[in-house]
């Protein structure tokens, strides 16, 4: 069986698993998990960050503790706990998908809260003061002045986090979740003779996804810089040059 034939036979399986006859799987499941794991972590991450920055220690200290514990724990361990330990005490079995998604949301929320906190603290206090001086309320100042800038400053870190999350979904393999790594190993078990090629295709799929995302984020950032230096007329400005460390000094 040649490689072309392998791809022709299994590409649909690789992309969507047994869907629609079985649960959704493959590369699509990987993307769904990563996107869901990041997006659902947003509200929790914001809440954790705001709690950590609050002046009330009864709120900020326990939340800081939780964030440190999660950040100091491997995702794999959280998965084991959620998959084996939780059902044994609650008596309820949770699906692999929910387990994985839950673990990703918890993990991402801890990391997002740090990214968000850094973003807020990096903003000069004058921005908030200027907004309040105009008569905007605390929350209006957050919503109209602080948040848009923080979101923009967070973009590179967010993309990093998304890329990490895509790769983290491969841990679902351990609990038998049919994400793309699991599917690749299934295909390998069926074909038997082409492990190098099959895992090369898997690596390529991860790489294209992650590298594409990084480039997309870079492009957004650059077009943003261009539009802000030009007074609204993009075309007049030269492309920003890539800087190396020595040039900056």
């Amino acid at each position: 069986m040649g490689m072309i034939e392998v791809i022709q036979t299994y590409w649909v399986y690789f992309l969507i698993g047994q869907f629609p006859d079985g649960p959704l799987g493959g590369l699509t499941l990987t993307i769904v998990l990563a996107a869901g794991g990041l997006l659902l972590a947003f509200p929790l991450g914001f809440a954790l960050a705001i709690a950590r920055m609050s002046p009330w220690r009864t709120l900020s200290w326990p939340v800081t503790g939780v964030v440190y514990v999660v950040r100091g724990t491997p995702l794999l361990m959280v998965l084991f706990w959620a998959y084996f330990f939780l059902p044994s005490i609650t008596g309820q079995k949770i699906s692999q998908f929910s387990t994985m998604l839950g673990a990703l949301v918890l993990f991402n929320a801890a990391y997002l809260s740090e990214i968000f906190r850094a973003g807020v603290q990096a903003l000069p206090t004058g921005q908030f003061e200027a907004a309040r001086s105009l008569g905007l309320s605390y929350f209006a100042a957050l919503r109209l002045v602080v948040m848009p800038q923080v979101m923009r400053n967070m973009l590179p870190s967010l993309v990093n986090q998304f890329v990490s999350t895509i790769k983290d979904t491969s841990l679902g393999y351990i609990i038998g979740l049919s994400e793309v790594s699991f599917i690749a190993s299934q295909i390998n078990n069926l074909v038997l003779t082409k492990p190098t090629e099959i895992y090369l295709v898997l690596a390529l799929a991860y790489f294209i996804l992650c590298f594409g995302l990084s480039r997309f984020a870079f492009w957004i950032e650059q077009s943003h810089v261009r539009s802000h230096l030009s007074g609204g007329e993009r075309s007049k400005m030269p492309r920003p040059v890539k800087r190396t460390l020595t040039e900056q000094t």
């Binding site: 000069p124 004058g126 921005q127 003061e129 200027a130 907004a131 309040r132 001086s133 105009l134 008569g135 905007l136 309320s137 209006a140 109209l144 002045v145 848009p148 800038q149 923009r152 539009s227 802000h228 230096l229 030009s230 007074g231 609204g232």
Partner: protein
Amino acid sequence: MIRFENVNKWYGEYHALVDITETIGKGEVVVVCGPSGSGKSTLIRTINRLEPIESGRIVVDGKDANSTELDINQFRAGIGFVFQQFNLFPHLTALENCTLAPRNLSGLDAAAARELALKLLDRVGLSEKANAYPAALSGGQQQRVAIARALAMQPPVMLFDEPTSALDPEMVGEVLMVMRDLARDGMTMICVTHEMGFAREVADRVLFMDSGRILERATPDDFFNRPQHARAQQFLSDIRTPFR
């Protein structure tokens, strides 16, 4: 218009404002000067409650700035504040910087807010930069936009906290000119500034501060030519002849 009654402020152990009592009338232009760390910025930042005070009262237009019943947002909307570092919102254009408060506080629709903002930008000589982002503007232009933004809620009082100190020398003039025009239009203004030329030409009164106290209150003419207090004499001599 603005009244300080025995105002005291501490930063921990440090007594930043000491028994300040002073009244600034409607339409008056007051320049506050004094050495670094004398409490000038703290003084004007207490007026719109960017800094809380520990004792005394500050009354603006009949409203106690530190009263618990005060609607602080409405109160602040009535006081324009211009910062040393401009603090323009970098994610908004010059026009959007000026429309932000009117749209969200006065409930002006987009067209009316835009018209108001364009008028204000025209007043500071920058209507052609309406669609530029702050990053594309010079320091002097940014500070003029910041003045237009502070005027957007049509406040009866404007406070300036060293508005030209962060500017390159060639841009100081354009900002002072805008401030002078505002003063001539009858705006009540308190300006913390070291621009003595501006104080001479525009101010009705000069307040000299040192160590958290107002040591001298005088007309610009008296202050510059016949300073009474020894610290004021020293300060003026220091800024006039830095090399000795």
